[in-house]
Structure formats: structure tokens, C-alpha cells
Amino acid sequence: MTLWRTVVSSLVTLVVILGVSHVTLAGSDTRNALARESSLETILKRGTIKIGFDTFKPWAMKDKTGEYIGFEIDVAKRLASDMGVKAEFVPTKWSGIIPALLSGKFDILIGGMGITPQRNLKVNFSMPYEFTGMAILANKAKAPGLSSLEDFNKPEIVVAVRLGTTAAEAAKNFLPKATKRFFEEESQTIQELLNGRAHALVASNPLPANLAAEYADQIYLPLQEDFTSEPIGFALRKGDPDFLNWVNNWILFTNAKGWLKNRYDYWFKTKEWENRIQ
């Protein structure tokens, strides 16, 4: 019996050690494999490209029938068809979207991700395919008559902003003295502002402009212009120059045709698609 137990326990130990070492080695394994063969090859072999994104109006959203629509979705579909493969969409929570890309849940992140040096340390970015601007939205009753960034940069001003977004970064940089409160979802920041628990909200346009139109008697846009202009790029895993090269040239190509601008204007400047979601 003792012999049996010794054998069993040593086997269990061995399995555990192997398992752990497998996990630690896996990281370097995938990196080597990626260097040897590009995601491009994997995608073409598979016949589908997996695209990661999170719901962000009007970048990507679900319409009434459960289909994904939006600026990013158009871009992703076009990219897939130019590659000659099917597009498979992988909706992912924003808070875990970079780990999901790194652990290979999808091939490319087309989710309106702003290019920042911190993010760039972990992932590769394509060249910018669009620029987005940050805007401030303020509560009429709580913070009336403000018209500049300085007016909001005070400790007594509470700013609601979505966690992990470039809007959160912008709020930290442009409004360092203001009290910032972070939320997981954009709908929460909006509610916070409407209920007067926050004086202002920072988000990428066109959301602030649309909200100001909907709740015209409660909130207003204090600044006439967006106070930032941020480059947006596709994010890819590191160590894959071939895929990056293909994606960059695709952006140059579609930009030259004016196709990107045409789609951008449709989703950001018109409201024709609004009846498809509600």
C-alpha cells in the first residue's frame, strides 16, 4: 500500500510540475511560433479572420436582429473580404481586451482603440485609420455657464469617465485637479451626469454631441471644439511584421480610394442608421 501511495503521489507531483512548466513555457513558445509563421498564414489557412472589439456607439453595436453594425464593423468586413476570408466577430469586454488579444482569442483588434505609448508596449499598432476627438459634456443645473477646460479643472468638479479608455487618460492629463470617478460602462457615466452626481463627463465624440441633443434641457457642451485629436489604429500581437505590413498597406489603399472617409461620415455625421438599433 505504501509503495502504491508513493507511486501515486510522485505521479501527481510530476503532472503538476509538468503542467506548471508547460504554462510558463507556453508564453515563449507562442512567441517563437509567431516569429516563425505570421498570423497572416494562420488566417488564410483557417479561412476566417477573428476580430476582437467591444460595443461602442457608433463604432460597433448590435442592431435589432442581433447582427453587428457600425463603422468598425464595416472596416472589418471590408478588410476580411480584401483578404479573401470570412470575418468572425469576437465581442470582448474592454477591460480584458488586450489580454484577450495577447492570449490569441482573436487575430486583430478593430475596436476604435486609441494609440498610446503604454498600450504600444504590449501590442503593435497599425498606422492610424481615423482620428477621434474628446469632448466634455456638463450638467446645466450643477455646472452652469462653464466654457473652458480651466473651469473644469477644480477639485470640487466631479468628472465621470469610462475606465481604461483614452477618455480616462485625457481626463487625467487635461483635468488633473478635478475629482475623477471611473465606471465600467458608458451608460453608467451618462446616468451619473444626468442624476447630477457628476458635473461633467469626458468621452469621444459623437456621443457627447448626440446626448446634448437628446437631453438639451439638462446638459450642454461647454467647449465648441474637441479638445484632443487622437489617432486610432488596429492592434496586433507583437513579433508579426508581415501582418502589420499588410494591414498598413490596406489602410493606405482604402484611404486613397476615399472609402474610409465615406464610411466615417456615414456613421459619425449622419443619423440614418439610428432606426436600425432601436
Binding site: V8, H22, K57, E185, Y215, I277
Partner: protein
């Protein structure tokens, strides 16, 4: 005093009426305050299309986004419930095993899981361990190589085939989590059997396995069932946690819908009602089960 087993006739006294009125008034007041003081444009009319909608192309009524989420939640809970019961029973038996080694394995498992927050567990498991398991099983290639005829049953049992790896990761995580609690229920059930039963079984010359199988387990099962059923209802509610790893269950669908429509209150209230309907049906079923099992 003769104890009657028949329930007394139901009568509402003036005191009851007053209490009911007061409660209804309080609810009404809170509801009114919420509706008026929230600074919120209510738009309930957008909700029905996400539960059932008329498909123009197919000319038929099809389930909407939220019902799809509910179906995923049901699938997730069922599979996790089954797996957690198997795992929990094995670990529960290990907990009361005469062998130290088995007791230690089960003890370690239960304490590890019970003393970590499920949300953190889900994240760690999904990004570090789940991936390794799925890669070892070559899940991705397996799904892509499935013949088209088998896709129907797979979809019915596990949801959309291309999300199967994520779904399985979620199921395994949930089962590991719930299994720890089930193990404790099983242990408590077995421990609650009087020592006399063990002694009687041993004096008949039964081996430990036979004692367990013929004498202890049948009695322990009866005591465990209510707690196990309660744990299954917990599993349904805990399944909301896996929305963080983007499994498209009810909570996730609700959050996606809010990001699209910014109608947080209507959507959350609807999601809440759907969860309640699901778990309340389970509660009623459990009640029936308990009544059926009571020794007449």
C-alpha cells in the same frame, strides 16, 4: 389540542389589510420617486423587440437578444451544474476518506476555491489555465473540422460552435467554483449520519465501499438534496460572473444592449425579471422535490 395537518382557511383581518396598504404605499412612493426624480427619459417601448421580434426575412417570430442570452445562461448553468455535482461528489467523498492523502487533496481544493473571489478566479482561469487546456485538446481545429450535419445538435447543447472554447472555459471555471461548495454539502451530509449506522453496517461484515453504497449514501442523499438544489440555483446566479470573459449570456447581452441604446434602467430591470423568473421556477421545482421525498 389536536394538531390538524390541514392548513387554516385564509382570512384577511383589518390589521393585515392595513399592513398590506402601508407596504403597497411605500413601494408606490419609491417607484414614483424613481420615475420622476431620476432625470431619466423612460422608453419601455424599446424592450419587447429584444425579447421576441418579428423577422421580416423569415416571416416568423424569433427570440430576441435577451432571450438568446437567457438560453446561454440556461446551457451554462445546466452543464456547470452537472459537472460540479460530479466533481463535488468525488471531492466530498475524499473529504471523509480514511486516507490522509485524499483528505488533503480535497481539503486543499475546497479551501483554495472557497477563499478566493469568483471574479478573480474566472479571470485567472480563463486567461492562463483555460487556454492551455483548450490548446492541448486542439479545440479550435476540432470545431472547424466538424461535419455540417453535427452543427445543429452542438448548437442546441452548447450554443454557437465558434464560441465553444470560450463556453467550455466558462463551464469548467463555474464547475470548479461550485464544486467546492457541493463537496462541503456532500461531506456534511455524510457526517450527519449517526455513527450507529456505520457500526451496524460494519458488524454485518460489509467493506467500507459497501457501507457507503448500501447504508450511508441512501440516507445522506436525502439530507443533501435541499442544499444541493439550493446550490444549483446559486449556480444560475453565479453564471452572471462569466460575463467578464465575454460569454454572451444574459448579463453580457444586457450590458451590450445598454452600450448600444443607453437605456440602462429598462434593460437592467428586464434582465433582473428574467433571472428571477428562471430561478423562481427552479425554487418551485425544488419545493416539489422536497415534498415528494418526505417520508410519508
Amino acid at each position: 389540542m389536536r394538531h390538524s395537518t390541514r392548513p387554516r382557511a385564509f382570512r384577511i383581518t383589518p390589521v393585515d389589510a392595513a399592513i398590506l396598504l402601508a407596504v403597497a404605499g411605500a413601494f408606490g412612493y419609491v417607484g414614483y420617486k424613481a420615475a420622476t426624480g431620476l432625470n431619466y427619459h423612460w422608453k419601455w417601448e424599446i424592450i419587447p423587440q429584444y425579447i421576441l421580434r418579428f423577422d421580416e426575412t423569415a416571416k416568423a417570430w424569433v427570440p430576441g437578444l435577451l432571450v438568446h442570452g437567457l438560453l446561454t445562461t440556461i446551457r451554462l448553468s445546466l452543464w456547470s451544474g452537472v459537472l460540479a455535482t460530479i466533481l463535488g461528489t468525488i471531492m466530498g467523498l475524499f473529504r471523509v476518506s480514511p486516507r490522509l492523502f485524499r483528505r488533503q487533496i480535497a481539503g486543499t481544493y475546497v479551501e483554495l476555491i472557497r477563499n478566493t473571489p469568483p471574479l478573480v478566479l474566472v479571470f485567472v482561469f480563463y486567461f492562463y489555465i483555460g487556454d492551455q487546456i483548450m490548446a492541448l485538446l486542439h479545440m479550435d481545429e476540432l470545431i472547424r473540422s466538424l461535419p455540417l450535419s453535427s452543427l445543429g445538435p452542438v448548437e442546441f447543447l452548447f450554443g454557437p460552435p465558434h464560441q465553444l472554447p470560450q463556453f467550455l472555459s466558462a463551464v469548467i471555471t463555474l464547475s470548479l467554483f461550485e464544486g467546492a461548495y457541493i463537496a462541503e454539502i456532500v461531506r456534511a451530509g455524510i457526517d450527519s449520519i449517526e455513527p450507529g449506522q456505520w457500526e451496524a453496517a460494519r458488524s454485518l461484515g460489509m467493506s467500507r465501499f459497501k457501507q457507503m453504497r448500501y447504508i450511508i449514501m441512501p440516507q445522506a442523499m436525502q439530507r443533501m438534496l435541499p442544499a444541493l438544489a439550493g446550490q444549483f440555483i446559486s449556480t444560475i446566479k453565479d453564471s452572471a460572473i462569466v460575463s467578464v470573459i465575454s460569454i454572451e449570456e444574459l448579463t453580457f447581452q444586457g450590458q451590450q444592449l445598454m452600450a448600444t441604446t443607453y437605456r440602462s434602467f429598462e434593460v437592467w430591470i428586464t434582465v433582473l425579471a428574467m433571472y428571477f423568473a428562471l430561478t423562481f421556477c427552479c425554487s418551485l421545482a425544488v419545493r416539489k422535490l422536497e415534498l415528494g421525498l418526505q417520508r410519508k
